[in-house]
Every structure is written in C-alpha cells, then in structure tokens.
Symmetry: C3
Subunit: 161 residues, 3 copies
C-alpha cells in the first residue's frame, strides 16, 4: 500500500523546481530564468520590513514574462556578473496551501557571494513566497516574492535572487 | 509499478516537518513551536563536546509540552526577539533508523542572525538528532536533540533552535 | 491514482544519499566515505575556473575505490581532523539527466568550519556534479566532481568535501 501525504509527491517536485532555479542563476544562465515563470507571473524582491508593512511593490517588480526578459537584457548590458559569482543554498520547501491547482510554498534561501580573489561572504538570506502552478506536468512560478531578511540593497538591485 | 525505497515517501514528509518547524521559528510564531512535538517529548540544546561526552542534560532541557510552553512564555517576557531576526537553513534529513513507528533522523542546520541594521553573521551550525513519531498521519517530534557545533552559548540560551 | 514525475521518487533518494554522505564526513567517519562510491568511480575536487577551462584533473583526483581508501589513510596519518570540525549544508539536488540506469545530478553545498574555540567561518561553497548509479537498490556515486566556487586550496587539500 502506498500512503501519500500530499507532501510526498509535491515536495520532491518543488525541490527540483527550486534546485533548477538556483542552478540557472548560479551558472549565469540568466536567459533561462524567465522560463521558470508562468504567464501571467509576478516577481518581486522586497525586504522583510516592507513585506511586514504590506508594501506590495518591492525593490524589484515584474509582472509579466516580458519584464523578466527585459531585466535579463539590462543585466547583460550592465555586465554586473563579471565581478562576482554567487552560490544559492535553497532550504527545504514548506508547502503552506493548495487549491485550484495552485500551490503556495515558502522556501528559505541563503546566497553566498564569491569574489574573484576567492573570498566569500554571506550576501543575502530570506525566503521565497511562491505561488506555483502545475502546467502540463511541469511546475511554474505564478508568483515569487523574494523577501530578504536584511536591507543591503546596494547590489541586491543588480541580480535576480 | 511504483517502487518505493523507504526514503521515497518518508524523506519528503521529514522535509516538510523540518521546513514547517524552521518557518515557525523564523516567522517568530513561537507559540506554534510546541505543536511540533508529541507528548511525551524531549527537547535538548547541547554542544558537540557535551554530546560526545555523553552528558544528557544540555544547556536547555525540556521533557514535556508544558515545559516548551513555559519556555515560550519566558522568551516573550524577555522580549529577546525584538533585537534580531534569524534565518534557519535546514539541510537534507538523513533517515538513520526506523522501528515500531518511530523514525530516527539526523538533519544539519545553519542559522544566520540578521541585525537591525542589516548586517548578517553565522550564528550557529549543528545537527538535529530526532526521534519522530507518526501521529494520525502527521509527524511529531518525540525527541529533538539540538547538537550545536560551536560553543557560543551567550545568546544561544535565548532562542529555540 | 499516483502520478509520479521522475523527480518524485528519485529526488528523495538523492536527498538521502547526500544527507548520508555529508553526515559521514561531519561525523568524522572517514572510513565510511569510500562506501558511497561505486566501482569503478571517479572523485575529483577542482575549482570553478579549472572546470570552466576543461581541466579534468583537479586538485584531488581519485579514480578507484583503492585511491579513496588511500586518501583516508593519509588523512588519518596527518591527523588534520584534530584541529577543526566542519558542517556540510547540502542544498536541494537537481536531476539533470537520466539514461541507462545512470542519473546525472547537480547539488550545491556550503561548508562551515568550526574552530576549537567556537568561531565559525564559511569554508567552502560549490556544487557536486554527480553521476549516480542504482546498485542493488542503493544509490552509489559513479562520479563526484566537487567544483569549488573559490580558490582557497590551502586547507581544501586536506579534507574530503
């Protein structure tokens, strides 16, 4: 007999989605990044303070695949990726709700920045507040709100998280 | 045909348990924290040195749900959460044994502390040594021994891990 | 009905493999480490720069179980483990391919070093590029290429990652 708590099948798929997402960013395959989102979509980077106070806008805001592609183009233009590399450590996804084919999940993350000389530092921590949709067997992000714990938005502005 | 190594179904459920646990702490929903434990239960925070030497007691010791609730009340009184926030990154659970409906698992963790001014530091690393029980379809902690790698118990005393 | 994306069953098993692997290293059970590999096997530690430039050799290179055992013996001789402890945080595995019973996976990791006095620092980040084989129901590493993000190979040379 196979008893399946909902988590048993969905958790691994969310893990795979998050692992693929982090890998695309850390491999500098930015052009693949919009492909993790559905259409319509919402992508926001914000701070814990802003999120707590109900500010929807965030520091970065994109509500269509086109805006995500524009963002990638702007980043390539700016060449910000030349300077450092990043390593995402994405924690275990928590499924927090499910209805009408949409899954709400929260997933913590930590990003380490690696300088050209090999030095590393903690760059960002926070959590992904996601709404995920099951599209033709693949999971896509309908919404990803990146809520950063800190407020260091000097360089945070530059890269997707 | 569905071939299921034991890990296939249990791993995702342990992942979900750990993700929910970490989320409750990082969201400052301390009042939800005792609900992750069964009754009876055991919750211990200790150091790797103490654990290696077989000292059972630990720096923090609670062996009933009531003691966990008392701990939360004391923390609310002390207001220690005002000053910083924390981000738990919980690693992949390792199932190390299973018998009589009890699962033993070991899971590494890392906690980052975020100051009010946005600075972050590595606050603690270690592993959870758990005995988990399947209660009415939900997993509960019968035992969680939090074995910290380091010995910085100044503030560790204050917050649940 | 149980619909299983390939990830649903394999992800948890890869998670378990990685969790067991990290636990063996952090518990200083080095003698168990070669047991995670198949025969034949390949174990390489290299840098992101070297990997990008196609250098196969790496800083550490072992292509047989015997060489892994030799490595452990050398480490025990050198006693390098006395000085520090380490904590591996292994991220979510990304399955990137599957054919002929072999699974290719990429998994990020972060290693924290804990000094005897309790101080911690970020020791290494990177990713495991794995080829995993299903042997008699257990997963074994046919290949593990440890690609480190930084270039701090002073002490990296000493310990398995």
């Amino acid at each position: 007999m196979v008893t399946t708590a909902p988590a048993s099948l969905l958790q691994p798929r969310l893990a795979q989605l998050n692992a693929d997402y982090a890998r695309a960013l850390d491999d500098d395959r930015l052009e693949d990044w919009p492909g993790f989102f559905g259409d319509p979509c919402l992508y926001v980077i914000t701070t814990a303070d802003n999120h707590r106070q109900g500010h929807a806008a965030g520091v970065i805001y994109a509500d269509s695949p086109g805006m995500l592609h524009d963002r990638v183009a702007a980043l390539r233009e700016a060449n910000v990726y030349e300077r450092h590399t990043y390593r995402h450590l994405v924690g275990l996804p928590a499924i927090v709700g499910e209805s009408d084919g949409l899954v709400r999940a929260e997933t913590p993350f930590l990003v380490v920045r690696i300088m050209r000389d090999g030095r590393m530092d903690l760059f960002a921590t926070g959590r992904y507040l996601d709404v995920v949709v099951d599209t033709h067997g693949a999971l896509r992000l309908r919404e990803r709100r990146v809520v950063c714990d800190g407020n260091r938005f000097d360089t945070l502005l530059a890269i997707p998280l």
